[in-house]
């Protein structure tokens, strides 16, 4: 409807260019991964034969699915009740409960894994204290640690999804059911649950995909439990020289697994899309007495555990350490001194690459969402599909795809900073596009037409009229892309080369060497780099960062 005669060519050219870039840096590398899983190796299909016959690969797939199931159930067990009580009841300390799980969203996984180890690892603060009391704690490595850390990392997704669904529920439906003779609890069960369930299930399946793609926690805590993401990375690292086919095969398996779950999620969401008439939200009921205390205590405990990483990384950063030996209780600034004076490169690299990726990602997201929502061209569906594709890809897969595609040939990027920026940009593409397009749907076409009608050419109308209205969501997208990119590990650890370490990579390496105090110091810097922009965006632009997440 809005295709105006003179400007059509500009948009067509831009969308063709953008689609071309996405195909080159996203679709083509993924295709290379899948193709080389069949063609690579000693003979065609050798990778798949090994996958099916060598026990550890099938065990890794089984472990990944099992861990995904455990964490999904655990996340639902924490996230759903917390969301329900936060939406429907008032209790002491509720304000804190309502906001704090959101802040844990920004805690990087690598820091979560590290700080749990600092508390419960073999030399952890809590482990040692318990040992002094004569209580032996089971090793935190393996299933126990994996399940606990991932559950407390990912339950917030279920919490947010459920909270939004319950808040959007029209309480008049429940009242109608009561009016028709159902007692309150039955009414709630029969009316609220079916309406909210699809959203809850969708967020659970999202958690499953995140677990399947998780690299940091899986590698740091997995040790004797082989997991798909870890084996993929190991196949990549040990690949040079030996048999390169397993990295592609395992990457293809993980693409298939995540794609299958996302497909299921889409079906759940589309089947559960009831038309919800904008109704009255429920008034939270105030709880008193024992119930209130129990609820506040339970919620408080969950929140406290969620915040454990923030607290312990801060403690660790200022704690004196000699090599791997941490002297709890001895405070120092030496850790910061060391990383800022002796090894500032990871900090500078992070800022440089994440800064470039954010700027690039925002430009692409703004343009792509505009071309998807407002200026449909024959390329728009391509942009739409490709910009959501990275959701089905773990960082490891994206990294491997870029490395095997741009290792040699006419466009050799291996060993450059550009490949890190591209990996970041591709990985966070869905975030940017989803956020930028969320407001675009609410901007009527007439706004732009009014401007054009008043004599301002189409391209300038976009900048003068549409862009200012999009600005808050662009800022939100920028902050999200930045914060998640600063903390990115799984793709960058695959594509980086010596001298181009970022903070998460450095933290990862320090944890592997058991140098927790230094890792914590980087962690604190990283958290500052994440929290300051969020704080600024919320204060200056009044942006709701978590609205579209």
């Amino acid at each position: 409807m809005t295709g105006s005669t003179s400007a059509g060519g500009v948009w067509l050219a831009l969308s063709a260019l953008l689609a071309g870039l996405m195909v080159l840096f996203l679709l083509y590398p993924v295709g290379m991964v899948i193709a080389s899983s069949f063609t690579g190796g000693a003979s065609p299909g050798a990778g798949w034969v090994r996958f099916a016959t060598e026990g550890k690969y099938l065990a890794a797939l089984g472990n990944t699915v099992l861990l995904g199931a455990i964490v999904t159930v655990g996340s639902a067990a924490i996230g759903v009740p917390l969301a329900y009580f936060a939406a429907r009841h008032d209790f002491p300390g509720k304000a804190l409960v309502a906001i704090l799980p959101l802040t844990t969203l920004v805690v990087p996984e690598v820091i979560a894994a590290q700080t749990w180890l600092m508390m419960l690892g073999n030399n952890g603060l809590i482990t040692r204290w318990l040992a002094e009391q004569g209580i032996a704690v089971p090793s935190f490595y393996g299933w126990f640690g994996l399940s606990v850390v991932m559950t407390f990392t990912y339950y917030t997704y279920v919490y947010i999804g459920t909270l939004a669904a319950i808040r959007g529920f029209d309480v008049q439906l429940e009242e109608a059911a009561q009016g028709l003779g159902s007692p309150p609890a039955t009414a709630r069960w029969k009316v609220l649950v079916p309406v909210v369930l699809p959203a809850v299930l969708a967020s659970c399946l999202l958690v499953f995909t995140l677990v399947a793609g998780n690299f940091a926690v899986a590698t740091i805590l997995g040790h004797r439990v082989p997991l798909l993401s870890v084996l993929t990375y190991q196949a990549f690292v040990s690949e040079t020289g030996s048999d390169p086919v397993m990295q592609s095969t395992l990457a293809t398996v993980s693409i298939g697994l995540v794609a299958a779950v996302l497909f299921l999620q889409r079906r759940v969401v589309s089947r559960g899309r009831y038309e919800i008439v904008m109704g009255r939200g429920a008034r939270p009921t105030r709880l008193r007495g024992a119930a209130a205390i129990a609820l506040a205590a339970g919620a408080g405990l969950i929140v406290a555990i969620s915040l454990l990483p923030l607290v312990s990384v801060a403690i660790g950063a200022f704690t004196f350490a000699r090599g791997p030996v941490t002297r709890w209780g001895q405070w120092t600034l030496a850790n910061f001194e060391r990383i800022i004076l002796n090894a500032p490169d990871p900090v500078l690299n992070t800022f440089l690459y994440a800064g470039c990726a954010t700027a690039l990602g925002l430009a692409i997201a703004t343009l792509a969402s505009y071309l998807i929502v407002k200026k449909r061209t024959p390329f728009s569906p391509v942009l739409d599909y490709l910009s959501t594709l990275p959701l089905a890809l773990s960082g490891t897969v994206i990294g491997i795809g870029l490395v095997i595609t741009f290792n040699t040939g006419w466009l050799t990027l291996a060993g450059t900073g550009a490949i890190i920026v591209i990996a970041y940009t591709v990985r966070r593409l869905p975030f940017g596009v989803r956020n930028a397009s969320s407001t675009l749907y609410n901007i009527p076409n007439s706004l732009e037409e009014a401007s054009i009608g008043l004599g301002v050419p189409p391209l300038r109308s976009f900048f003068k009229v549409v862009l200012p209205v999009m600005l808050p969501s662009i800022v939100a997208a920028g902050v999200l892309v930045w914060t998640t990119t600063v903390a990115e590990l799984s793709a960058s650890v695959v594509v980086y080369s010596g001298g181009r370490e970022t903070m998460p990579i450095q933290i990862f390496r320090l944890i592997e060497s058991n140098l927790m105090a230094q890792a914590s110091a980087y962690g604190v810097l990283m958290l500052v780099a994440i929290l300051v922009p969020i704080w600024l965006a919320t204060k200056l632009f009044k942006v709701d960062i978590f609205a579209a997440r």
Binding site: S451, I452, L454, V456, P458, S461
Partner: protein
């Protein structure tokens, strides 16, 4: 002030033609309304005039200037939208000044002209506000000021009143009429509301499936509809199938048989014997005693509406029609009462079936 000439216009998305072979001339300085139900192509025609929809065939001229291939931002139009389309991040002043700034009018002149424009729509005190702080009626006044302040060649309005409640609709309608007369700008107004069209327009083009069914003054359209479609859409009318006997020649008034009686009306030249359609508005039919003559009928239902009573009557053939009486004892007839229908001879029309 220019005339608008549309010749053989064809518009379509893909294979479907939304407008096909439409020709129309809109007189300079006049208020022209495109009226019709949703999906008839009226908004597409307006958007084609604005340049947002590409022309598939034919030509468009504003005065002597051929604008068929001119992009919208060079057509010098003022457009008012159904959803106001005010720039939400800009103040009222900046909204109204937007088109002037695009035309590089100097800032001093902008201040004067925007001030005048806001004053004319009664919002001069609110220049510093943003659209979100205004009511719907106020927003549409701003949109009107924004469109008029650039003194456009052509003013285009796309259902500007349909998002407003009934009372505001009347107020803004008056404002639109006054401002258009004052400015004398050629105006094309799109609506599906016949009352708006009758109240505001110099001429009305009634659209049906991408073409113009009838073009004329409000009086023409109301009093002399060319088809049952027009009569029914504007004002509402009874449409009655009749058989014209061979003996009835053209001219009038002639007696046309209907349901055991006769209706006296003019028979147009081009109408042949056979099936035809009789159009009669409810208020153009009188009820009398059956003995007094007219078409025999029975009253089926009756709605007393204060100033007027609406009756549903059935003919002997089973055909039903609506009759509206006002003045005097308009509520004197009862259900099941036998009556005689007398059709107003000048206002009852015969058209081809």
């Amino acid at each position: 002030m220019v005339a608008v000439t549309i010749e053989g216009l064809g518009v379509g998305y893909g294979a479907t033609r939304i407008i096909d072979g439409l020709s129309l001339t809109i007189a300079s300085g006049s208020f022209f309304t495109l009226l019709g139900p949703s999906g008839c192509g009226k908004t597409t025609l307006l958007r084609t005039l604005a340049g947002f929809v590409p022309v598939g065939a034919g030509s468009l001229r504003f005065g002597d200037r051929d604008v068929t291939q001119v992009p919208p931002h060079r057509r010098d139009i003022g457009m008012v939208f159904q959803d106001y389309a005010l720039f939400p991040d800009k103040t009222l002043f900046d909204n109204v000044a937007y088109g002037l700034r695009a035309r590089r009018v100097e800032e001093g002149a902008i201040r004067t002209r925007v001030g005048e424009a806001l004053e004319r729509v009664g919002l001069s005190a609110l220049g510093a506000r943003r659209p979100a702080e205004l009511s719907g009626g106020q927003r549409q006044r701003v949109a009107l000021a924004r469109a008029l302040v650039i003194r456009p060649t052509l003013l285009l309005m796309d259902e500007p009143l349909s998002n407003l409640d009934a009372k505001l609709r009347l107020q803004v309608r008056e404002t639109i009429g006054e401002l258009q007369r004052e400015a004398g700008i050629t105006t094309v107004f799109v609506t599906h509301d016949q009352e708006e069209a009758l109240a505001l327009s110099d001429r009305i083009g009634l659209m049906r499936e991408g073409r113009l069914e009838q073009v004329g003054t409000p009086q023409d359209i109301y009093r002399a509809p060319v088809s049952a479609y027009v009569a029914d859409f504007v004002g509402g009318a009874n449409t009655l199938k009749v058989e014209l006997p061979r003996s009835v020649g053209a001219g009038g008034p002639r007696a046309v048989p209907l349901g055991g009686g006769t209706v006296s009306t003019e028979v147009p030249e081009d109408l042949r014997a056979g099936a035809a359609m009789l159009l009669a508005r409810p208020e153009d039919i009188a009820l009398g005693a059956p003995e007094a003559g007219g078409v025999p009928a029975t009253i089926v239902a009756r709605q007393y509406l204060g100033g007027v009573t609406r009756y549903t009557v059935a003919l002997a053939t089973g055909q039903r029609l609506a009759v509206a009486l006002h003045g005097g004892d308009h509520d004197r007839f009862r259900a099941d009462q036998a009556v005689g229908l007398v059709f107003h001879p000048e206002r009852t029309r015969l058209v081809a079936a």
